[in-house]
């Protein structure tokens, strides 16, 4: 890792091109990851922390000070006047004056002009944003809906698309290329155009307000079939013939030979499918109208109220929504680079 980060062009130390490249890359990291970092940090801010101006990167919140007999009060440092430099707790604010209490003399209430004090801030992560998602909203329900739809739809997508790709790449039958072309041609139709017809079909099949209404229409993807077919074309026919000579049924050839050898392409499609299903918004919004069947993106959307938006919860929810996809990408990314098939033949 260190070696990678300090890699240089030649062996003669740092050339100016190395500096340029590294500066460019660092800039890229800042541009790409800055917003993500900002989102992550902001999701840990309390509601007031988010609305603080000027905004801060770290999640700050006003510190409190314990006053005997009065409980925890908001802490301030006095900047001018008789008590300059002292830390006091605010009892209440009255116009331009505030009633403050010095912890040393808890029985005396002092009047301090609001201009003569600054609040004491401390860094604190507001984890309650996340726990609150589960206690104050049916977030677990949305999460489950999203996970269920994503997992089932991805499994079905891989299964259906790979079977179709296997037939299109390894069997010879009349109309094969025509079928493939028609399938590809559907890529040219914008999804918004088929939205209404799709909805009509879904509603006639009674799939509205059900997770299956989101899953079934998404299972057959021309992109996935195309990608898998192209990959399967590179698998040598001799392997399949060898399996056929080995008494393998067509299903076994598919299941035991073609599928394992296509795993790099399947991994790519799995990542795509997970991202598509997890982030999908328009179609679920059309099919799912009852809030208990909402997926996370729908929940996020409904969370943005007309008058008020609880940003701290919204941001926390966004983070939770982003996490699984990012993790899956991290895990499967390695898999893509492993080219298995080409090695064993020859």
């Amino acid at each position: 890792m260190v070696k990678l980060l300090t890699a240089t062009r030649g062996k003669n130390g740092w050339d100016w091109t190395d500096w340029a490249a590294h500066i460019y890359l660092v800039l890229g990291v800042v541009v790409m990851f800055g917003p993500v970092l900002w989102l992550g940090m902001s999701s840990l801010k309390s509601e007031t922390g988010i609305q603080t101006f000027p905004p801060t990167l770290l999640p700050y919140e006003p510190s409190t000070i314990a006053i005997p007999g009065r409980g925890d009060l908001k802490a301030f440092t006095i900047t001018a006047g008789e008590f300059a430099g002292k830390e006091m707790g605010e009892l209440r604010r009255l116009g331009l004056q505030a009633q403050m209490i010095d912890p040393a003399t808890p029985d005396t209430v002092r009047r301090i002009p609001v201009g003569d004090r600054t609040p004491i801030m401390r860094v604190r992560a507001a984890w309650e944003n996340f726990t609150g998602l589960f206690t104050q909203f049916p977030f677990a329900r949305y999460l489950w809906n999203s996970v269920f739809i994503t997992v089932i739809a991805t499994i079905l997508t891989l299964l259906v698309n790979s079977m179709s790709a296997f037939a299109l790449s390894k069997y010879k039958f009349t109309g094969r290329d025509t079928a493939f072309l028609i399938m590809l041609a559907t890529l040219m139709i914008p999804p918004t155009i088929v939205l209404v017809p799709n909805y009509l079909i879904a509603s006639q099949l009674g799939l509205t307000n059900s997770a299956w209404g989101v899953i079934w229409p998404a299972v057959a993807t021309p992109t996935g079939v195309f990608m898998l077919r192209q990959y399967m074309l590179t698998l040598p026919d001799e392997l399949i013939e060898a399996a056929r000579m080995d008494n393998a049924s067509e299903w076994r050839i598919y299941w035991r030979i073609v599928l394992p050898l296509s795993s790099p392409a399947l991994a790519v499609l799995a990542i795509f499918s997970v991202m598509w299903r997890w982030n999908e918004f328009l179609w679920p919004m059309v099919v799912l109208s009852r809030s208990e069947s909402f997926t996370l993106p729908l929940a996020l959307n409904s969370f943005q109220g007309e008058l008020t938006t609880q940003w701290n919860y919204l941001l926390a929810m966004t983070v939770v929504t982003l996490l699984p996809v990012s993790l899956i990408f991290l895990v499967l990314q390695k898999h893509i680079t492993q080219g298995i098939a080409s090695a064993g033949v020859k």
Partner: protein, 360 residues
């Protein structure tokens, strides 16, 4: 049992006919080699026998049963592919066991057979490796092992040695003939290399452009090629083939005239052929002798190339263009004039259609 018979077998791809009515029989337990230049249809023929290609016309029978419509897996054959076609994601053991698993063979039985085949092929220590971790020769043996465990009636080999280096190829040739001796199973072997055909086969089927040119024992093909193609194809270095005419017919035997080099007596029968006809004569390099004196049955030319192999020497003689094999090492030098004697008994004569005239 594993006798095979092909009757009028043809194959057409679209409008192109690639196999033109092939007829021959393969005896049970024989080692038959299909040999021919690339594109002659030998691999197609093999794929038709094993059931990976359909038969357009004619019949293929195994043990007197027509198998045209029997799927590949049920024909009781096993094939070793040119690329080996090992399943790259399975270990050597799994590769060999896959075929038996598909037949629902009991696990113990699979294990016994795989281990026995592995022992026979010296693969015992590699059973858990993936094919990628094996050398070319080992992969080849795994491919053979995968065929052996199924105990097939006939083994089919499709150019199995073409991916190996020259040294390994010689070794594998010996291993394959040894294997055939032990298993006594019919083997059909496809190659474009006539040396492989000569060294391994008991029967060679020479194919050209989808037609069988000649079928026979290797030495029979070598000694009595039925036509110009077989004469030129079998034997290395190849037979010298020269255009000539029939000069005369003496006592039923043909005397040939090489334009510019005089006439040469032969022991081929003239039946049906007359003087003046254009023919091709053929004579193998090892049957020619270089000598100092000119005389009947000799021609003279200049040395245009010398290959000294130590135990043998080949010289190329120019005008006419022929190769001569000399035993031992030669003192002849480039450009030197040399007289070459053509022994009458070793001259092959082919008529205008390339068909050999019978020799007595």
């Amino acid at each position: 049992m594993g006798g095979l018979a092909l009757r009028g077998v043809t194959k057409t791809f679209g409008d192109t006919k690639v196999i033109h009515g092939v007829d021959f029989e393969i005896k049970d337990g024989s080692f038959t080699v299909f040999v021919g230049p690339s594109g002659c249809g030998k691999s197609t023929l093999l794929r038709m026998i094993c059931g990976l290609e359909s038969v357009s016309d004619g019949t293929i029978s195994i043990d007197d049963q027509v198998v045209n419509d029997v799927p590949a897996a049920r024909r009781g054959l096993a094939m070793v592919f040119q690329s080996y076609a090992l399943y790259p994601h399975m270990s050597v053991y799994q590769n060999m066991a896959f075929g038996l698993e598909n037949l629902n063979t009991p696990r113990v039985e699979i294990d016994n057979r795989v281990r026995e085949a592995a022992r026979m092929l010296k693969l015992d220590t590699y059973l858990n490796r993936k094919p990628t971790a094996l050398s070319g020769g080992q992969r080849q043996r795994v491919a053979i092992g995968r065929a052996i465990v199924r105990e097939p009636k006939v083994f089919l080999f499709d150019e199995p040695l073409s991916n190996l280096d020259a040294e390994l190829r010689v070794g594998m040739r010996a291993e394959l003939t040894g294997l055939h001796r032990r298993l006594k199973t019919t083997i059909i072997y496809v190659t474009h290399d006539q040396v492989e055909a000569m060294t391994m086969a008991d029967t060679i089927v020479v194919l050209r452009a989808g037609r069988v040119e000649q079928v026979g024992h290797p030495l029979e093909l070598y000694n009595n090629p039925g036509n110009v193609f077989v004469a030129g194809f079998i034997g290395s270095p190849r037979m010298n083939l020269l255009p000539a005419t029939i000069a005369s017919v003496d006592g039923g035997m043909v005397t040939v005239a090489l334009p510019g080099f005089g006439t040469f007596a032969t022991t081929t029968q003239a039946a049906g052929h007359a003087a003046g006809e254009s023919i091709t004569i053929g004579i193998r390099p090892e049957h020619l002798h270089a000598q100092d004196a000119a005389g009947p049955g000799t021609l003279s030319g200049k040395v245009s190339g010398i290959e000294q192999l130590g135990g043998l020497s080949y010289i190329r003689v120019e005008a006419p263009d022929i190769t001569v094999q000399l035993s031992g090492q030669t003192r002849l030098a480039f450009g030197e004039a040399v007289n070459i004697h053509l022994p009458p008994a070793n001259i092959h004569v082919f008529d205008a259609n390339g068909i050999a005239l019978p020799r007595s």
